[in-house]
């Protein structure tokens, strides 16, 4: 591990990679601050740039920096405007915005920055301990287990992403998988489902799909409903200091939430949003009576908890990505797509075959957190000016960047028509309350899922592998339970509710 660390240090401290971290964090902060643009849209927009860099470690360092920056920037707009740019920072606005209203915007931003820094750094430490452990176990896995593990991941994502409606999330995952079968597969040298169109020969482009699923509908929604991009005078931000007493008050919160947030982040499908809400709820429940009163009215603990948890969860979500090659969230799914495009396959072999990538990413997490703390905190009053860019300019630019992104990926104008078409479909799906992240994750995992499935079929000459390998069977059972149990419970709850006569 020491050797790996040193490799990582030497890679991460090259001038190029340091610049990547700084650039990523700054870009992420800038764009993450804009209400309505989540980390997924930002990373989707940045992917073409990252891919053209060519060096996989530099690319993923840039994208990871954008990711933390976006979360950090999202908390800034939650605090200053009560308009979270990122779903993971919604909980930060519960107490952050009241603090800003009380004239403590500077203090709130400092707490948010410190909490994010601590959450991210402790998360990176835990990642350093757990990722190698998990990847040694993962080396024992067979393609059959991989197949089963991906099924578990997909069903977990469907079970958690569905807003109380698992069938919709499952359907979206399946549509993603279906879309992944279009084009030429790796195992069979024949085009499938291309309808004779040359443009579909290599399948749908993942960048175009990512743009169409996230960036485009968000931008369209900003146009449709201007209230979403609430703009206000950000006011003057001063007095960034916090007192020693306040520091002592939030320290245990930060400690608890870093660990809790990290492990929630590791679980597939959970991610930063759930971690931050859960962190907020847990801290409110264990706070003393008079502190509970404060929550929602500008409690510093109520701000520190979600901020720590969401950053720790972001780091945690890298564990399944780096060790198993299975993304646990939409954002890490996009990162996985970018890595595959750069000819790096994340998985248990990553640590052995390409330690410089693995460790450089981890080291860059520390640097990224430091950059956010040192660079962004003093600059926040200036960066917050971005909130006053008029939306009349902002939206055409966002749309232009999505167009650009999918064009330079393929250098093909047909791709742009596909982008607009899929973007319209995604908007309709969003209107109908279908979650979109499962679709993209299904699409990205689809190819790998089929490859592993095909490999195990060939090895066992049929579907015998499901019964022959107990672990595969166990994982598949878990996957089935993950999908069936929530809908069964919802059904029962509904039945019970209908059975009870309403009091008059």
């Amino acid at each position: 591990m020491i050797e790996g660390l040193l490799i990582g240090l030497s890679a991460a401290f090259s001038i190029q990679n340091l610049l990547m971290v700084i650039a990523g964090c700054l870009i992420g902060t800038f764009i993450g601050m804009l209400p309505g643009l989540g980390p997924m849209s930002i990373i989707a927009i940045m992917i073409p740039v990252a891919i053209t860099i060519g060096d996989p470690s530099a690319a993923i360092i840039l994208l990871a920096g954008v990711y933390y920056g976006a979360i950090f920037g999202g908390s800034t707009s939650s605090i200053l405007l009560n308009a979270p740019g990122v779903a993971g920072t919604v909980a930060s606005s519960f107490d952050g915005y009241p603090m800003a209203r009380k004239g403590q915007a500077g203090k709130a931003l400092t707490i948010a920055a410190i909490a994010s820094f601590a959450g991210g750094s402790i998360g990176a430490l835990l990642l350093m301990i757990f990722a190698p452990m998990l990847s040694t176990v993962a080396l024992l896995f067979h393609s059959a287990e991989y197949f089963a593990l991906m099924v578990v991941g997909l069903s977990a994502i469907a079970a958690f992403a569905g807003t109380g409606n698992v069938a919709k999330a499952v359907l979206m995952t399946l549509v993603g998988l279906v879309m992944a079968t279009v084009g030429e597969g790796a195992l069979f040298n024949m085009p499938r489902f291309t309808m004779g169109l040359m443009d579909l020969q290599s399948g749908f482009s993942f960048i175009t799909l990512a743009m169409a699923m996230f960036a485009l509908p968000e931008a369209l929604f900003l146009v449709l409903n201007p209230a979403r991009s609430a703009q206000g005078a950000s006011g003057k931000i001063e007095n960034l200091r916090i007192t020693r007493e306040e520091g002592r008050k939030i320290a245990p919160v930060i400690g608890r939430q870093s660990i809790q947030g990290f492990f929630i982040g590791v679980l597939p499908g959970a991610g930063a949003t759930i971690a931050s809400f859960l962190g907020y709820a847990v801290e409110r429940n264990i706070a003393s009576k008079e502190e509970q009163e404060e929550f929602g009215k500008g409690a510093i603990k109520g701000l520190a908890a979600p901020e720590t948890a969401n950053n720790a969860a972001c780091t945690g979500s890298f564990v399944p990505l780096l060790t198993l090659g299975i993304p646990g969230s939409g954002t890490t799914a996009i990162l996985l797509g970018a890595l595959i495009a750069l000819n790096v396959t994340p998985g248990p072999r990553l640590m052995i075959d390409e330690p410089q990538i693995f460790w450089a990413v981890i080291i860059s997490m520390y640097i990224g957190n430091l950059v956010l703390l040192i660079l962004n905190l003093p600059l926040i009053p200036y960066i917050a000016k971005v909130l006053s860019i008029p939306r009349n300019y902002l939206i055409p630019f966002i749309l232009f960047f999505t167009l650009m992104g999918s064009y330079i990926g393929q250098n093909n104008a047909t791709e742009l028509l596909l982008l607009v078409g899929m973007g319209i479909c995604a908007t309709v799906l969003k209107f109908a309350d279908y979650p979109l992240a499962p679709l993209l994750i299904g699409f990205i995992l689809g190819g790998m899922l089929e490859d592993n499935f095909a490999r195990s079929m060939q090895l066992y000459d049929g579907v015998g592998f499901v019964i022959d390998r107990p672990m595969t069977l166990g994982l598949l059972v878990i996957a089935a339970l993950l999908v069936i149990v929530p809908s069964y419970r919802a059904r029962r709850a509904k039945a019970r509710k209908e059975g009870v006569a309403e009091g008059d």
């Binding site: 359907l171 549509v175 079968t181 024949m190 369209l220 009349n392 300019y393 973007g423 209107f431 109908a432």
Partner: protein, 160 residues
């Protein structure tokens, strides 16, 4: 019928066509030596088609009783008329136009036109800001992509 069930219906129809291709037409092209494989190119699509059809039917027939959370949806299609529909549609049309004009018109012209018309559609009327900003932005992006990243983008229209 609610929009989400219409969507499920459309997905069902598309998947039926997909399933038909997987079950009945695809295997005809399979060379004989590959037919001895336990897995065919159509195996996985067949599984997917069956699962997707089942799930789509569950939604279409309303078999899954979801908890009625009663929360205000993020954006509600029933209030579509209240939203700013025309600028959104204009922007979509502009994006299609951009796709069509990018190659023949050249990057600089297409981008400039897209940004100007886009902000115009959103209600911007300050031409003295809009025109220079759009021109500068198109040039900067072209410079970054073409010169710095090294991806060729034809800057001028086809006749230059």
């Amino acid at each position: 019928m609610a929009l989400d069930r219409w969507v499920a219906f459309v997905i069902l129809c598309v998947t039926m066509a997909y399933g038909y291709a997987a079950f009945f037409t695809m295997d005809a092209l399979l060379p004989p030596f590959m037919q001895r494989n336990p897995i065919w190119p159509s195996t996985f699509p067949k599984v997917l088609a069956v699962l997707t059809i089942i799930t789509a039917l569950i939604i279409l027939l309303g078999l899954e009783k979801s908890e009625d959370t009663g929360k205000e949806p993020d954006i509600d299609y029933r209030r579509l008329g209240d939203y700013h529909l025309i600028p959104a549609l204009t922007l979509l049309a502009l994006m299609v136009g951009y796709a069509l004009i990018l190659r023949p018109g050249g990057f600089l012209f297409a981008t400039f036109a897209f940004l100007v018309l886009g902000s115009f559609a959103l209600g911007e009327r300050k031409f003295h800001i809009m025109l220079p900003v759009s021109a500068l932005a198109s040039f900067i992006v072209w410079y970054l992509v073409d010169e710095v990243l090294g991806i060729f983008l034809r800057p001028w229209p086809f006749f230059i």
